[in-house]
Amino acid sequence: MFASSAGMLNRHQKQVHALDGIDLDIYEQETLGIVGESGCGKTTLGRTIIGLIAPTSGQILFDGQDLVNASKDAKKSFNREIQMVFQNPYTSFDPRFTIIKCVSEPLKIHTNLRGAALTKRARELLEQVGMPGEILHRYAHEFSGGQLQRIAIARALALNPKIIVLDEPTSALDVSVQAQIINLLQDLQRQFKLTYLFISHDLSVVQHISNRVTVMYLGKIVEQNTSEAIFEGQAHHPYTQALLSAMPSVVKELRRKQIILEGSVPDAANPPKGCNFHPRCPVAMPICSIAEPVLDNSGAGHPVACFVVNPIEKSTDEMIQ
């Protein structure tokens, strides 16, 4: 049968702007939280930074060097500096590999450690994340989600990286296990002077662990501020406000008046004109459906991309064009 899914006639697919003009700085030893709903591009962002996806255009600078157009050797050394922990611990490990094989995979690629020295290092890594060294010869299916996520963190630490991209590392875990993992991440950050890029849809977790928070919507950054500010009443973008209000919490003081947004996130292949958020925005103005707002400090003192927050005075005509 010649019925295959993606035929060669399917090629004329529309280009999807998963990420659209993202500007982001991450500082040493900070935790930058990326928050947004599905389809906002947060996972694509993480995968682009780690080098799994090549950006169509733009630069990723690490210590001032461009990662995207770097030479093969340079890329290999960047691989050591940036590591990633994935969302689902159950599929993060090859079911046919023992734990030692999993944890030492990066070491085999990037270092000359072999034999006993390799085993010693793997054991050491596991102990750093609170797992006993005896588990080296077991298989992933013998462990719980929380234990696997610890092992995944051990693997990420193997090469002494500077940055770890954490893509929803606790979303598959129970609350009590999530707390263990968050505490572990915070301890390790202090101990190894790590920089985290923490991607999550869960605002309470992001607020707890991050220094700064970036809110994304449909491939774009809509607001960026310190964690405290965003969660203590300094959220200016209507989307950030709606997200915060929708977050259920047991803490009575945190319960805000609910802003219920209409509809759902539009298809990234077919984004709305003007501001991506305007079809769902409770305070949308006529201009929002025509022009695209940019990140601007002027209205709120921190970057917000919204015409309501940053009223346009100067070049309205220019923008409308």
Binding site: M1, F2, A3, S5, G7, L9
Partner: protein, 340 residues
């Protein structure tokens, strides 16, 4: 609109496959044999024959010119001349193809009518005696060499019971005294159309054993595929959701589950069809059935290379057409096929 797009896409694909298939058969005909010209003229060729064939086929020219000529011949219906019958192959095929198609269609009909319902029931009542029995039949069916089955059927129904004829399309008396007027050359249709019921009955009786033998593998295949898709579908969450919302088990099985299971089953039918086509080659030998299978087997024995290549091409075209029809059918059953 999307559906039309999908259907057009499938048609373009089918044409692409057709062209590629013609290239491949061209290679088999003109490049693979150590001496294509000799292969083309048959066993024990004379020097002059080879030289003549070389010129005719343009074997001294570059490959693309040869292919061009090959395609021109094909499109004008010139499949070459049979080494054995000395007839144009196309007219031979016209004579033999209806007999094969009649056999294959009846076999397929039996396979669909028996195989798919059995597969559904077997999957729905997994672990029941019916399921075990059906699985036994299906695994024996895919393991049974079709020629052995044909011989065993003859032994039982002709030799032991004396109920059914040994072979051929009609008995000698009918051929002599109630001959079927050739219209489509499918005897069941022709005799029915002309009201020749003696011949119709005789042809039907002659069809029973070969069609049954031919249907065995497709039945087994249909059971296996339908059963496994049915089991898969019945494990889906939406089936549990339907059961939990109190939908009658009958509706769950024969409406909600079956429509999901039918799409992969259509694929099974495509496969069943191709096995029927090739099975027919073997069955025709056993039952002295004057169809394409007998034609191609005699060609193999008589080293009639042009015939072998042409029959391969014709049957492949049939297979591609059937697959195209099944693909289009799918689009009308499962909306996800179109966007997938």
């Amino acid at each position: 609109m999307q559906r039309l797009d999908y259907i057009l896409k499938r048609m373009v694909m089918a044409i692409f496959v057709l062209i590629s298939v013609s290239i491949l058969t061209f290679f088999i005909a003109r490049v693979v044999p150590s001496n294509p010209a000799a292969a083309w003229v048959g066993p024990h060729p004379t020097k002059e024959q080879i030289e003549k064939a070389t010129l005719e086929l343009g074997l001294d020219k570059p490959l693309y010119v040869q292919y061009q000529r090959y395609m021109q011949d094909l499109l004008s219906g010139d499949l070459g001349t049979s080494v054995r019958t000395h007839q144009p192959i196309l007219s031979d095929i016209k004579t033999f193809l209806p007999a094969t198609l009649e056999l294959v269609f009846v076999g397929m009909l039996i396979a669909v009518l028996i195989g798919i319902p059995l597969g559904v029931l077997s999957g729905a009542f997994k672990g029941s005696w019916l399921d075990h029995f059906t699985r036994l039949i299906s695994i024996a069916g895919v393991s049974m060499p079709v020629f052995l089955l044909g011989l065993l059927l003859q032994l039982l129904f002709f030799r032991q019971l004396g109920l059914l004829p040994l072979g051929a399309r009609v008995s000698t008396e009918v051929a002599l005294f109630h001959p079927v007027t050739p219209i489509t050359r499918m005897y069941l249709i022709d005799s029915a159309v002309t009201g020749n019921w003696t011949a119709f009955k005789d042809a039907s009786i002659h069809l029973i054993l070969p069609a049954l033998a031919l249907a065995t593998y497709p039945i087994a295949l249909a059971i296996r595929m339908t059963r496994s898709t049915m089991i898969e579908v019945l494990n889906e969450k939406y089936i549990m959701a339907a059961r939990i919302s109190g939908i009658r088990e009958r509706s769950v099985l024969f409406i909600l589950a079956l429509k999901n299971a039918i799409v992969p089953t259509l694929n099974a039918l495509g496969l069943a069809f191709v096995y029927s086509l090739t099975g027919a080659i073997l069955i025709e030998i056993i039952f002295s059935w004057p169809g394409l299978g007998t034609y191609v087997t005699n060609a193999v024995l008589g080293v009639d290379f042009p015939v072998i290549v042409s029959v391969t091409l014709i049957m492949t075209v049939f297979y591609i057409a059937i697959n195209l029809i099944l693909d289009i059918l799918q689009a009308f059953i499962d909306p996800r096929v179109i966007i997938g």
